[in-house]
Symmetry: C2
Subunit: 436 residues, 2 copies
């Protein structure tokens, strides 16, 4: 059979990784796909720039639309990122009847519903394994490997920058800002790290995972998002004393009032496998009714790990080229008519346990006042630790673990406690997840 | 579209689990597959027996061939196990032009080459995700998710019985035989546990994983197989002191002299994620050139975990019913013409580090004699621990960790050392794997 012709949009880190893999492993890949796969055209930002990869035999252009409009191209691979030009490129490719592979989480999270609708109309595939957790085949596992299951919840370490920072803080007792600077110099964090450390990148990925897990439309704007900038080395130490590690998680859970969609730091029991996923590595833990817990671990970013997922998607598309469009793996795991209109819960309704840290003046009646507020708010305390001076009148740190309680009960209680004279700081509240 | 009609052969543990899932999650599964999936006929061993599942609407028979020969059946699901009747059932199903789903590792490991050849001739699918590591989608991940990669090695905890026994020995300081009895009473081990504890079950699964990973024919008879009956609680303790845990692993590795295929207990560094996979859970760690390490974790057995994989295979087959047979996922990951004739290495050639335990009489010159034999055999010692009485003439235990050395160098050295007068026991030698 003829080689399948790929048009590559973007030859940055992931583009170069993808091309490198297609070249190095071309024989194995063809042996698996049953057809040769050849990149014949590529769009780059700057034609004059020195390339890290061999582009012999590839027609280069700085106009993505030239690639997308080329009638010879079978599959458009979009690797420029963001939701500007990338969106136009993908929609035009679909209009032109081409299948699409993309690594673009923002694009899928924000515009996926529209893109998939257009693709569906034309009987085309849009594959996006590389958009979540880099080289880990988590989309495939959820959408195909667990297709027998009703998925109950999933929890993922899906931002390598956050995981690297938290790991280094813990292992080396460093402050957030020190580690961030180091991560930037190592290339593990962007010059502007906001997207990563504020949780937006993780929220894009969680949006996609939740859609596929529960068969709901993509709803990025309904994700509760909290980053890691409020986590201190003290919190990590106290959590450790109590047998927990702090990880930045994306969590999606089905319960009777709707779907929880939330990204935030969380204490998790140190003996959980996922609590031991360190550095830039990613992992997703999925709880499903038939199979029980399964976990998927690997590199969440980087040229070749992400390229690995892009190429796997290309092979999948090649294999399904001749299949009936109505019988392929649906974009969001369920056939378009079978998507569920489950409500997304407000974070105030979501029930979790909490870790709390506060500074108070050590004088009689303070703890009584605090615990009374919790009692009045129907919040049960599981553990209390007092750290610091025993002397009266000195500032001490109080650490508490609570039982499971709705988020708005907790924010009301926190607001009242912060008004107490003896409470000298804002209260740090971090959710605690048992993950079992 | 019409419902897809399934003929189920076997309604034991896995059969009942499969049926239960298909009934409970029928709406979700149809939403994913795009078609209803209905079990219309089932073959059971004893028609008079009380069923654990609802068989309303299913025509039961005690003759598997009646199901296989029924022209109405689209997919035959073989869940009786073993390589006797199961083989006939599967081959007849193929002859009759039916796709097959099976959870039968022995059948695939021993007769897969022939079965796939027959299926290929007829353009039929034979799916077998449930044959390895129960509900973990490891076949799918290797064959599709990592299709971009040249796989370098994989190491799996792929027998839950062995992992349960080793975990309980370690956590509770129990002897092998005590834990085995307990495992049998809990249903984690068979009345005749030979297949599990002697490593044969793991070897079946490793045979399949290695085929898919490297694109080689199934070669069960070339797997080196060692069980866990030789591992003592002392070995587990000494390994722990040195920072290792003992796990029963299936390992397949590509190197320049061929493919290593081996099942045996191994010391692995305790900080590895896979070292912390406990109890009956399974996991596979895969090292590949583009993505790096990925790990897959979950339940390796049980009615619904295995049923989860069976149903996922059914959905996959349903999705590919209309696709071009030459473009589907190849049975062994690579197109039949692309399978590699790589030699399987003899265990004597395979290079690993070793943990050694021996009893010796504590007298001058003994250690010199032992280390001289290692030196003459070109084996480097990394660590020596002496345990027990310091008094001269008393028996002491010596623990050694060696550097990487070919297996036959080690067996020669062990043979010579065992001949020394001062050496009072057989030497326990367990391989040590760094897994990084």
């Amino acid at each position: 059979m003829n080689a399948v012709k790929i048009g590559l949009i973007g030859l940055g880190t992931v583009g170069a990784g993808t091309l490198e893999i297609l070249q190095r492993n071309s024989r194995d890949i063809a042996g698996r796909a049953g057809r040769d796969i050849r990149v014949t055209r590529a769009a780059v930002q700057n034609l004059a720039k020195q390339r890290m990869v061999d582009t012999t035999g590839i027609e280069l252009t700085d106009d993505p639309m030239q690639v997308v409009n080329d009638p010879d191209i079978d599959i458009v691979v979009e690797l420029i990122g963001g939701d500007g030009i990338a969106r136009e490129v993908v929609l035009r490719a679909i209009e032109n009847g081409k299948h699409v592979v993309t690594a673009n989480k923002a694009l899928i999270a924000l515009h996926g519903n529209h893109i998939f609708e257009k693709a569906q109309e034309k009987g085309l595939m849009v594959a996006f394994e590389a958009a979540v957790a880099g080289g880990i085949p988590i989309i495939k596992s959820l959408r195909e490997g667990l297709s027998a299951n009703r998925i109950q919840w999933l929890a993922g370490i899906i931002n390598g920058t956050c995981n690297y920072i938290l790991t280094r803080m813990e292992q080396d007792g460093l402050d957030f800002s020190e580690v961030l600077k180091e991560a930037q110099s190592l290339g593990y964090a962007e010059a502007d790290p906001t997207f990563d450390i504020e949780g937006i990148d993780a929220a894009h990925k969680l949006t996609i995972l939740a859609s596929i897990a529960f068969g709901i439309p993509l709803q990025f704007d309904k994700v509760y998002v909290e980053g890691i900038t409020g986590v201190t080395i003290d919190d990590i130490r106290y959590a450790g004393e109590l047998g927990f590690r702090i990880k930045h998680l994306g969590i999606a859970r089905r319960n009777q009032d709707g779907i929880e969609l939330r990204v935030h730091p969380a204490l998790i029991p140190e003996q959980r496998l996922i609590a031991n996923v360190d550095g830039v590595m990613n992992a997703a833990l999925v709880m499903a009714d038939a199979v029980g817990p399964t976990l998927y671990y690997g590199a969440g970013a980087g040229a070749e790990p992400t390229g690995s997922a892009v190429v796997a998607d290309i092979v999948d598309v090649v294999r399904a080229l001749t299949s009936d469009p109505n019988n392929r793996v649906p974009h969001l795991a369920f056939q378009p008519g079978s998507l569920a209109a489950l409500p997304i819960m407000h974070i105030g309704q979501v029930e979790t346990a909490f870790y709390l840290r506060m500074s108070v003046i050590n004088r009689p009646g303070v703890l009584a006042a605090i615990t009374r507020i919790f009692g009045d708010s129907e919040i049960s305390i599981a553990t209390i630790l007092q750290k610091g001076h025993d002397a009266k009148g000195k500032e001490v740190t109080i650490i508490m673990l609570t039982q499971v309680t709705p988020g708005n009960y907790m924010s009301n209680a926190v607001e009242q406690i912060e008004k107490l004279d003896a409470v000298t700081s804002k209260i740090t509240a971090i959710r605690l997840e048992n993950l079992a």
